[in-house]
């Protein structure tokens, strides 16, 4: 059975279950809604300036477009009964792209896509037991720049709140023995394509979450066939009415991260190697931060990230050297070009959430300015490269149904070969979101 037909079967199942439980629901709660939905349409334009970096020489490796325009229709359908709940989120997108830089200059392309971004069916066989299956997004943790404790979903959806992360096929069991403790067992039900090294075995996880009157603590243990032990944790503490402190981290035994190493056999003189693949060393990645809300309602957040698997100064130098060599040979004859391409792919996805080890993030958020405007200003700074990225998110609620938005980012540091300016120097996305 294909995934598409499975989706249809699940949707039909949801309807059947809903029809059977409608009477029961309405009897218990005079105004319960069994079905509900949101229907949103987005139209936006996006412009980005590809940098002349060694990661993407002459824009020939990543072929980043300069402009794009997109229309999206996003219906969210929900079912809620006392024993079964579910969601189905089909998406229709139409995209047009224009290239102005490098090898692709003058090219255009269009794409129309229909897909189900995520769906979920959750049954409640017992008051304290929930079993769900679907193409789910299971994001957790309080941090902004990364969610290290979540190996399933790296994206925190906070860099650009208008883009959606696509779900993964997951089976989940949630047990609530009491009000304070939640135990979740989850497993991917499909092997994941991880690009270069083929398909990874499904990730399985056990998560225990303890909720106190003003704190939340969670621990996550991961199991993946032929992979290293990993333990994650996150927590938050509402220290006062105005302050929330939090952390999110993971520790792994050894690491999958690729490191640049001298390699006499390679024409490039070095190659990327999983240096600590079988190591017994512990590699923690942790974020810690806090938010403070002023009496006016404005909020300031600060977050620190320590990424042990990231590169120190010597490794970073070797990394940029190797990347530079690969870039220089990308346009050479067949043999070396292929190796360069592979090296640039590895340089792009080293396996570490961030390239280096120390980062700081500051954020200012002002919501409901004159009851219609939300502003988020954020700056992420790499302490070792002394370069960062500034971004701004503006949302203006023009009417009850229409919202205009603009999301911009620009790199600060004025060098082409820093982590933040490896791909794009600046970008701006502007559009309108309609709630129908």
């Amino acid at each position: 059975m294909t995934m598409r037909s499975l989706n249809i079967v699940v949707a039909a199942g949801l309807c059947f279950l809903a029809a059977n439980s409608t009477a029961e629901t309405q009897a218990k709660d005079g105004r319960a809604e069994v079905f509900s939905y949101n229907l949103r349409a987005l139209a936006f334009v996006d412009t980005q300036n590809p940098t002349h970096s060694t990661q993407n020489p002459d824009n020939a490796f990543l072929k980043i477009n300069r402009y794009s325009g997109e229309v999206q229709v996003r219906p969210d359908l929900f079912l809620e009964t006392p024993s079964v709940s579910g969601s189905l989120k089909p998406r229709l997108t139409s995209t047009r792209r224009w290239w102005e830089d490098g090898a692709m200059r003058g090219e255009t392309a269009s794409q129309n896509r229909t897909f189900v971004n995520d769906w979920q069916v959750q049954v409640k066989p017992h008051e304290a037991l929930f079993i769900s299956f679907g193409k789910e997004k299971t994001l957790w943790g309080p941090s902004f720049i990364a969610s290290p404790s979540n190996v399933l979903f790296k994206d925190t959806e906070r860099v650009n709140p208008k883009t959606e992360v696509e779900g993964k096929y997951l089976a989940r069991l949630v047990y609530l023995p009491n009000n304070a403790l939640t135990i979740t067992v989850l497993s991917e039900t499909k092997k994941e394509d991880n690009g270069l090294s083929g398909k990874s075995p499904p990730v399985r996880a056990l998560k225990a979450e303890i909720m106190g009157s003003n704190y939340l603590l969670a621990a996550i243990g991961y199991q993946q066939r032929r992979d290293r032990p990993r333990v994650g944790s996150y927590g938050q503490w509402t220290a006062s009415d105005s302050m929330v402190l939090y952390y999110d981290g993971i520790v792994t035994k050894g690491t999958d991260v690729l490191y640049p190493e001298r390699d006499a056999a390679s024409p490039l003189g070095a190659s990327f190697v999983r240096t600590y693949d079988d190591s017994a060393k512990l590699f923690p990645t942790i974020t810690a931060g806090g938010t403070y809300t002023f009496l006016s309602g404005d909020t300031v957040s600060m977050e620190f990230l320590y990424n042990r698997p990231g590169y120190d100064d010597a490794m970073a130098r070797a990394y940029y050297e190797l990347r530079g060599d690969a870039a220089r040979h990308l346009f050479d004859g067949a043999g070396l070009s292929g190796l360069s391409q592979q090296t640039l792919s590895e340089a792009l996805t080293t396996g570490s959430p961030f390239l280096r080890q120390y980062y700081l993030m500051g954020q200012f958020q002002s919501r409901e300015i004159k009851d219609v405007l939300n502003v988020i200003l954020r700056y992420t700074y790499g302490l070792e490269e002394r370069a960062g990225q500034a971004s701004a998110i503006l949302e203006w609620q023009a009417t009850g149904r229409l919202q205009f938005f603009a999301i911009g980012s620009a790199n600060v540091g004025n060098r082409a070969n820093t982590e933040f300016s490896s791909l794009v120097g600046s970008s701006l996305m502007a559009g309108i979101e309609a709630h129908l």
Partner: protein
């Protein structure tokens, strides 16, 4: 005679149970707050609709939400305007999250964070002043000709929405009718007035008043008014799992 006295004592006790506090008998500060909290949602399970409207400099905005409350836990789903009906605020005691259907990762927020106008997240939750504040009875004052107990509430911990509240509770109805909210430095920053035109049935016998309107005025910008209107109140059992991030389908 002894038997008569016992019967009369029992009758008085029963009368107290049915009618509340017997005429002439003043309730304790704790009882005053407990009753006032109950009229503002501190129950085992209640669902209500809240409309928050603001007016400032001639401009008006409104938000609607359906709120499920169980003791200190609250789940508020925005219902209007349409652009916001994919948003939720979940409060588990003092832990709070903002959730958008499109974004799966809940955002941790503080109780002080603004909801609309002068209404903070903490304002849509039920009140639990009896546990959250140390109360002192300052005296009795009339508010719009209604005699009220005047209570001085000081935060019992740092985790409450307001550091100090001066709270006027109707002597007869035992519901809060007026409040002044102060900062840690003792500065007045907003005032509130309450109406209780709703009634809820707690069991077959008791029919008690329930909050119907809360008007918040900014202490500095006096024309900045936020009105919270409560309607469609249903008392019912709500499972604890309603307030769990892990089981919330969105």
């Amino acid at each position: 005679m002894k038997r008569m006295l016992m019967i009369m004592s029992c009758l008085l006790f029963l009368l107290h149970g049915v009618c509340g506090f017997a005429h002439g008998e003043e309730p304790s500060v704790r009882d005053i707050l407990k009753n006032a909290d109950r009229a503002r949602g501190n129950l085992d399970g209640i669902v209500w609709d809240i409309t928050i409207a603001t007016s400032e400099d001639g401009s008006k905005e409104a938000r609607g939400m359906t709120v499920k409350v169980k003791k200190n836990n609250t789940l508020a789903k925005f219902t209007s305007p349409p652009a916001m009906n994919d948003r939720m605020v979940l409060m588990i005691d003092r832990n709070m999250w903002f959730i958008r259907a499109g974004l799966k990762k809940p955002v941790s927020i503080s109780p002080r964070q603004k909801l609309l106008g002068d209404a903070a997240n903490g304002d849509i939750a039920s009140t639990n002043y009896v546990e959250d504040y140390h109360a002192t009875l300052l005296g009795v004052e009339a508010v719009q000709a209604e005699p009220c107990f005047v209570l001085d509430l000081k935060a019992a911990s740092k985790n409450v929405t307001y550091d100090r509240i001066k709270y006027w509770v109707s002597r007869e109805r035992l519901v809060g009718v007026k409040a002044e909210f102060y900062t840690l430095s003792g500065k007045l920053f907003k005032t509130a007035e309450f109406k209780y035109d709703n009634r809820i049935k707690l069991d077959d016998k008791n029919d008690v008043p329930f909050v119907s309107e809360l008007v918040i005025r900014d202490a500095i910008e006096r024309d900045k008014i936020t009105t919270m209107t409560y309607s469609n109140i249903i008392v019912r059992t709500i499972p604890d799992s309603t307030f769990n991030l892990n089981t919330l389908v969105r």
